[in-house]
């Protein structure tokens, strides 16, 4: 049969792949957002000195680290709507079910990333904020989080890339993301090599873009007044602290 370049190129510009890739990205981004919000709360619970807050946080991490993501997705799509009528509504699409399901699982992992990032910020930082009369939420938001984000960013990007791949699990709940798109095509044409090669190319492009974005963001967390590559503007930045 050989590798038919024509079929490969044809599929490469097939809108179904682009749509599949966008769905994969969308599920990954939405579930990461959910995971970060829940993960932050769980991380705070784990760091709390109050047993009543610590126990549920520990329980959450224990539970969702144990259950396979695939099983969570099946429960989200098949079991929960049977129990909760609200989930039979139109808004509860495979996309929503996949995003929430992966988000719930991912939150257990994000909680640990966020917890270690918060712990990495020197104690003297919140001490200084408190001494200035700042309230706990203000200390957290303006002093601790900006420093913790820098630590959490690389592992969070890893998780995001992982989620893009995990989104292929959502094929079991009939979400036609990137890999499912390839698989469906294969099932009709049996052109395995060409269709899978297109999928590979899409994944490579997605991860490349994310890597570029990551390094862009990381550059913002280099806390010096004259950033490399912007040396020409350094004098204005130094004196222009007001801006």
């Amino acid at each position: 049969m050989g590798f038919d370049v024509e079929i490969f190129l044809q599929q490469l510009i097939n809108p179904a792949y682009l749509w599949g890739a966008l769905l994969s990205l969308g599920v990954a981004a939405f579930s990461l957002l959910i995971a970060t919000v829940i993960g932050f709360a769980v991380a705070l619970g784990r760091l709390s000195s109050v047993p009543g807050l610590r126990a549920p946080a520990v329980g959450y991490i224990w539970f969702f680290r144990a259950i396979p993501a695939l099983l969570v997705l099946l429960i989200m799509w098949n079991a929960l709507p049977q129990i909760i009528p609200a989930l039979r509504a139109d808004w509860y699409s495979p996309f929503m079910a996949a995003s929430i399901g992966l988000g719930l699982v991912e939150a257990a992992f994000m909680a640990e990333i966020i917890r270690s990032a918060l712990l990495s910020v020197d104690d003297g930082q919140s001490l200084a904020g408190r001494a200035l009369g700042m309230k706990p939420a203000s200390v957290m938001w303006r002093i601790v989080i900006p420093q913790a984000v820098r630590i959490a960013l690389p592992p969070t990007t890893n998780e995001f890339i992982g989620l893009i791949k995990y989104s292929s699990l959502a094929s079991v709940i009939s979400l036609r993301e990137l890999l499912t798109t390839a698989q469906v095509g294969v099932n009709i044409t049996f052109r395995y090599a060409e269709y899978y090669a297109v999928a590979i190319l899409y994944y490579l492009v997605i991860v490349s873009v994310i890597t570029v974005i990551q390094s862009r963001i990381e550059r913002r967390f280099v806390w010096v007044s004259s950033k490399p590559g912007r040396r020409a503007k350094s004098t204005t930045t130094v004196s222009g602290g007001v801006a």
């Binding site: 003297g124 309230k135 203000s138 303006r142 967390f221 010096v224 222009g240 602290g241």
Partner: protein, 258 residues
């Protein structure tokens, strides 16, 4: 307004019978200490004698086990029921007290100007442009007008500590607490920080300075206090304290640091 005459006599900051334990170690064993408006008090003592702990308790950064802390005669850190106040209420009371730390604790993600402006904006609600303007002014007062746009990692230890002083000062506190402000500095950078503190004292700031800088204590302080093992051993005017110490412990301490 009947207390007009009294208010000058009431201590700006005072602690009574202050106790603090860490595990089984008693760090403060009933300390009585007070400072009047405009006074500068230097606190000396060996490491672990409790002097820094007293400062942290005064700044309401840690709860006392026993005793009272009074700001202008009003008890702080406790509610009417005698319990420790929750953190958000402590934060409000702390606004009258400035604190400078041994290790500066500047915020590494903010420029010098933003370090100084942060609490003005976040605590006092000053609009950001005005807060930055006042931050620049304050940095000028500690001789760092040209470093406003630098991040802490780009500043020397002495400059960082001066920014930290400006950061506390810009909130216009009633009293400034210095916790070994020069102990983490290279010897050649100590002078610039002490100079700023001396200026501050000359301008009438009320200051408690925990320090190992005996010469500074002698020159700038109105009163010198020696801590040892969680109690105050001796307290007096610098000349009397250094030239004619009354206690054996003070003599021994001074023989080591001179």
């Amino acid at each position: 307004m009947t207390t007009q005459t009294d208010s000058t006599a009431v201590a700006t900051l005072e602690v009574r019978d202050l106790h603090k334990k860490y595990g089984n170690t008693e760090v403060l064993k009933g300390v009585e200490f007070s400072i009047q408006r405009g006074e500068v008090k230097a606190v000396l003592g060996p490491s672990g004698s409790g002097k820094s702990t007293m400062l942290r308790l005064m700044a309401l950064l840690e709860p006392a086990d026993q005793g009272e802390i009074l700001l202008h005669g009003d008890r702080i850190g406790h509610g009417a029921n005698g319990r420790h106040l929750p953190e958000p209420q402590l934060a409000v009371q702390r606004r009258e007290i400035g604190m400078v730390f041994q290790k500066f604790n500047l915020f590494p993600h903010l420029t010098a100007a933003r370090n100084v402006a942060l609490a003005l904006h976040a605590v006092q609600g000053v609009k950001r442009p005005e807060a930055l303007e006042r931050a620049h002014e304050m940095l000028g007062r500690v001789g760092l007008a040209d470093r406003a746009g630098h991040y802490p990692s780009e500043l020397s230890g002495g400059q960082q500590q001066r920014v930290a002083i400006a950061r506390a000062l810009v909130l216009d506190p009633l009293v400034m607490l210095f916790d070994e402000p020069t102990s983490a500095l290279d010897p050649e950078l100590v002078g610039e920080v002490l100079d700023v503190m001396e200026q501050l004292a000359a301008q009438g700031m009320t200051m408690i300075v925990v320090t190992h800088e005996v010469r500074f204590a002698r020159r700038v302080a109105d009163q010198v206090t020696l801590f040892d093992s969680g109690v105050i051993v001796e307290q007096g005017a610098p000349d009397a304290f250094f030239d004619n110490p009354q206690h054996e412990r003070t003599k021994r301490f001074l023989s080591h640091v001179h």
